[in-house]
């Protein structure tokens, strides 16, 4: 399975618009997981999955906090 080409991934960022393209959290996401997505090494995938699960939890808490703040829930 060919590895993800990170520079190719970053070249797609302008497609999503400058506001998102420059957001560091998206660049970080690609950088952290670019290698894992193209890997067939189970150890690499397991480690990446643990990190991805932590990121999901943080992203969820952040969004719910924003919703509570802006929508008064």
């Amino acid at each position: 399975m060919p590895k993800l080409n990170l520079s190719t991934a970053l070249n797609l960022l302008p497609v999503i618009g400058p506001a998102l393209a420059s957001a560091p959290e998206f660049i970080r996401l690609f950088e952290e997981f670019g290698a894992a997505l193209g890997s067939s090494d189970q150890a690499v995938l397991k480690k990446s999955l643990e990190l991805a699960q932590t990121n999901s939890a943080h992203a969820h808490n952040d969004l719910q906090g924003l919703v509570a703040q802006h929508a008064g829930t």
């Binding site: 060919p2 506001a19 997505l37 995938l45 999955l49 992203a59 969820h60 924003l66 802006h70 008064g72």
Partner: protein, 119 residues
């Protein structure tokens, strides 16, 4: 614009030459105590797609792209459903339960589509 990001993420996944996101999410999980690379990849894609979608929604709220309280509340509701679905994928993966893993991946695919459609 934000939806384009999620489409771009799916495009990036397909650029890797691996199975496309929907195919991986719909892939057959391994049997009990016999995890395959596909299990990790399915769970990884579900988590990454969720993180991208929820960060996109958060950015849309922070930058004022989405400002109405009712729209924000709806995003909160859809986010809770999507996160619960991804959490179910993670738990099914951890418990080596092939049947619940397959069901959870289907549900994650559906709820993530609902979340990304909201902004």
């Amino acid at each position: 614009m934000i939806k384009r990001f999620c489409l771009a993420l799916a495009a990036i996944v397909s650029l890797a030459g691996c199975a496309t996101l929907p195919a991986v999410l719909g892939g057959t999980p391994a049997g009990y105590a016999d995890r395959t690379v596909l299990d990790e990849q399915g769970a990884l894609f579900a988590n990454l797609t969720y993180t991208a979608a929820s960060k996109g929604a958060a950015l849309a709220i922070r930058t004022g792209i989405i400002k109405s309280p009712s729209a924000i509340k709806r995003i909160g509701y859809l986010d809770a459903k999507a996160y619960a679905a991804v959490d179910a994928v993670n738990r099914a993966y951890a418990s080596l339960n092939a049947a619940s893993y397959a069901v959870a991946l289907d549900e994650a695919k559906r709820t993530l589509a609902d979340l990304t459609a909201a902004f």
